[in-house]
């Protein structure tokens, strides 16, 4: 690779070249384009706004909504009706279109967002059909199949925006503003929180992220952009018919999102431009032009399965490589933030799966700052106990208390915000996220929320303390299993816990690495963190906890100092079996 001057590479990798290209394209069309070209380019902007909104819902929140097209149509009708009938007319049509779509989305989202993927898709499809039926049948308001002709041009603060050049500039300006806002938000911790919430909801909740709330916000914000796009569409075209609420709008939106890219804002523009312009390139094929477009779309998906935006990013990375950042600022958390130690009380907790009692009248107390290990045969209820404490599973009987606070019926993310952090038996990290970002994500729920670089500097501190700082720049998916668990330990510390709950943190580590981890855990909890660790390695536990509990079939069969539990005949029989070697020091 030839040596590219770094400042030039930095420039070419930044947003500036894309902006210059976009400005040049808009200026070129505005100057030399005929009215048809102007109209097409303007429609591309409305499509881009629609897709930008859908990226929030589908790409970032991971919800396959099929109502985005109908919400676009709703916005178009609202804008048309207001500009035709309301006296205060055409200045407020766009905000009204966006707000009405958001309102409908909020009502729908409150009910259907809790549904699982395909049920959610079906529910939103039903909502889309309702909106479409209303557009066709509510003739008094919508004009039925004839639609609403004669929608006037837009006016802003008394100034009329005529169709053609001015409208083109307005439409793409609106897209640019919206895209800038979305890109800024996603470049911060919010983007990371959405990634984790989409791919590993329990892990997101374990660091205090309100997964349902985040999905709802993305759904409503995406609807707002759909409504805005629909309103703009009404003014550009001048007539609104039930077609704008129909399924082809949704299908087009989905195609543009997949072709352009699910998450990068530039993808929304690229996908929309291709969707609106490509069919025109094949007009000479007459009746077969849509087949040709279909073939092109298929080719795009095969060549760039992650979208044109991703392809563009890869090309730019190849052409203008930048040295990878291997180090960066390290920031210890300010001394004042350590939270007061607190006791954890588990009182008569019971939990059954079908007929199996996973937990049966479990009672235990962890004194403030105490570290307790849990052992037990496979299936004895260890992970269930951790899941009940952290709120991932509800207890059927009994109570869990943090200090004086009852955790009963609290959602998992609020328990995390009270200071309970955990790791998982099978590390839950987004494969494409870097190790540093994965740890920084845990700062999302803090109030006030720190900027991403500040969170990153503190994340580097915890990676150093846990002993995985050399992996900071790697993708989590590239790490071996044992290291992934250590990254989770760092993420748990990043959440600044009062209670730290670890599920087999030493599994997948070599003996030497486990001893090292135990040593580091001892140092880290010196600040007064209460710790509950499940593990099968008694030597590891002996090196990092003060007391041992043994579960068998959901009941506590031993609780006491490590040596006492280790020598307990009942424990030896239930847990170690005849493998006495493992029981000896």
């Amino acid at each position: 690779m030839s040596a590219v001057p770094a400042p030039f590479a930095v420039f070419m990798r930044g947003p500036a070249p894309l902006l210059i290209a976009a400005l040049a394209a808009v200026a070129w069309i505005a100057v030399v384009g005929d009215s048809y070209a102007l109209r097409l380019a303007t429609l591309a902007a409305t499509q881009a706004l629609l897709v930008l909104g859908y990226q929030l819902v589908f790409g970032h929140a991971g919800a396959l909504s099929l109502a985005q097209g109908a919400l676009f149509g709703l916005g178009a009708y609202v804008a048309a009706l207001l500009s035709l009938h309301a006296p205060w007319g055409v200045s407020l049509t766009l905000p009204a279109a966006a707000l009405s779509a958001m309102l409908v989305a909020a009502l729908v989202g409150a009910i259907v967002l809790r549904l699982e993927t395909h049920y959610f898709a079906l529910a939103t499809l039903a909502v889309a059909q309702l909106i479409h039926l209303a557009a066709v049948n509510w003739e008094m308001l919508t004009g039925g199949a004839n639609g609403l002709p004669g929608v006037p041009a837009l006016s802003l603060a008394g100034m009329t925006i005529t169709r053609g050049g001015p409208m083109l500039l307005l439409a793409w300006s609106l897209f640019a503003i919206a895209a800038w806002i979305v890109a800024r938000v996603m470049a911060g911790l919010t983007g990371l929180a959405l990634d984790l919430a989409r791919e590993h909801p329990p892990a997101a909740q374990s660091v205090g992220i309100d997964v349902a709330g985040l999905r709802f916000t993305a759904f409503v914000a995406g609807a707002g952009l759909a409504g805005l796009a629909g309103g703009l569409h009404a003014h550009v075209v001048g007539v609104v018919s039930p077609d704008v609420t129909d399924m082809p709008v949704m299908v087009g939106c989905l195609i543009a999102t997949v072709i352009g890219g699910r998450r990068a804002v530039i993808g929304a523009a690229l996908g929309a431009i291709l969707l609106t312009h490509a069919p025109e390139w094949f007009r000479f094929l007459e009746n077969r032009h849509l087949i040709a477009f279909g073939a092109l779309a298929l080719a795009m998906v095969i060549v760039a399965p992650d979208g044109l935006a991703d392809l563009l990013a890869t090309v730019r990375r190849r052409l203008w490589p930048l040295p990878e950042r291997t180090s960066g600022a390290v920031l210890a958390p300010p001394a004042g933030v350590a939270r007061r130690s607190v006791a954890l009380r588990v009182e008569h907790v019971g939990k059954a799966f079908g007929g199996v009692r996973a937990l049966d009248d479990v009672t235990m107390v962890l004194a403030p700052g105490e570290a307790v290990g849990v052992i037990g045969p496979n299936g004895s209820g260890k992970t269930t106990l951790l899941n009940v404490i952290t709120g991932i599973l509800p207890a059927e009987q009994g109570e869990v208390r943090l200090g004086t606070e009852s955790l009963r019926r609290r959602p998992a993310f609020t328990i995390a915000r009270l200071g309970v952090a955990r790791t998982f038996q099978h590390a839950e990290l987004s494969a494409a996220t870097s190790v540093l970002d994965a740890v920084a994500t845990a700062a999302f729920a803090r109030s006030p929320r720190p900027p991403r670089d500040v969170a990153g500097a503190e994340a580097r501190h915890w990676l150093l303390r846990v002993g995985v700082a050399d992996s900071a720049a790697l993708r989590c998916g590239a790490l071996p299993a044992g290291r992934r668990r250590l990254v989770e330990v760092a993420r748990a510390f990043m959440a600044r816990p009062r209670i730290l709950v670890l599920d087999e943190p030493g599994a997948g580590l070599s003996r030497a690495e486990r001893i090292e981890l135990a040593r580091r855990l001892r140092i880290l909890r010196g600040s007064g963190t209460t710790v509950l660790v499940v593990d099968h390695d008694i030597d590891f536990l002996a090196a990092c906890v003060d007391r041992l509990i043994c579960l068998e079939r959901g009941r506590i069969i031993a609780d006491g100092p490590i040596e006492t539990v280790r020598r307990d005949p009942h424990v030896r029989q239930a847990y170690f079996g005849r493998d006495d070697a493992a029981a000896e020091p």
Binding site: P377, N378, G577
Partner: protein, 234 residues
């Protein structure tokens, strides 16, 4: 003694990083070879490359003299290669019994016998034969992944950290069973963090460091020679 599993000049790289660097090893039928090494030494990558889930450059990869290098993973499995992946990849929606059954070809009669054989090996699973796999605890899912691989009666068996998450009693049972199936003539390649446990049942050991073979030899001598081994595993 036949050279059941034969690996020569195998390399795996991720982007620029060399995860496995020109590793050669053979596992004769009836022998257990322990594959040891620190976290990130390349053990999992090696096993994934052998079963075919990871792209690799290889000079020779054969089972019982049959070349596997050009085959996709399912054909390698059909040729007699068994694989227990790291991280409990069981079919969550199937029952315990179905999870084992899907791995076995052939008539229903022998199939039932082999399922019964596996359930006898893991009494924990026998008690839950009709339960869906997602209801099992983590350790029980690990047992099921091992049972599924064993049920195929592979001629060579690759295991990636089978003791992960198993209680000591169960881990001991699994390892003694591994010794048993090797004694029946199967080649066993066992990647494991718990070096002491693996060496106790292994005939030979290969230690990887930074993707290369750093040490190899007789397992019994290696357990005695702790310092050199521990330095490599740290």
């Amino acid at each position: 003694m036949t050279e059941m599993l034969d690996i020569a000049g195998l390399s795996v790289s991720y982007g620029g990083a060399q995860a496995v660097d020109n590793v050669s090893l053979t596992v004769p039928g009836g022998r257990v070879v322990a594959l040891l090494g620190a976290n990130g030494a390349g053990k999992s990558s090696l096993l994934r490359a052998v079963i075919g889930l990871q792209a690799a450059v290889v000079d020779r990869l054969a089972i019982d003299g049959r070349d596997l290098a050009a085959l996709p993973p399912e054909r390698r499995a059909a040729a007699g290669l068994g694989y227990v992946p790291e991280g409990r990849r069981v079919f969550a929606g199937l029952t315990v019994r179905e999870n084992i059954e899907v791995a076995i070809d052939g008539a229903a009669g022998p199939r039932a016998a082999r399922v019964a054989d596996m359930l006898a090996l893991f009494p924990d699973l026998a008690a839950k034969a009709g339960e869906r796999a997602w209801r099992l605890s983590g350790g029980q899912q690990q047992m099921l992944a091992i049972a599924r691989a064993l049920a195929r009666r592979p001629r060579a068996l690759l295991l990636d950290e089978p003791s992960l998450g198993l209680a000591p009693q169960v881990a001991a049972a699994v390892f003694s069973r591994l010794r048993g199936i090797a004694d029946d003539g199967i080649a066993v390649l066992l990647a494991e963090q718990n070096a002491a446990r693996a060496l106790a049942i292994a005939d030979e050991a290969v230690v990887l460091a930074h993707g290369r073979v750093a040490l190899s030899g007789d397992a019994k001598q290696m357990s005695a020679d702790d310092d050199a081994l521990m330095a490599l595993l740290a």
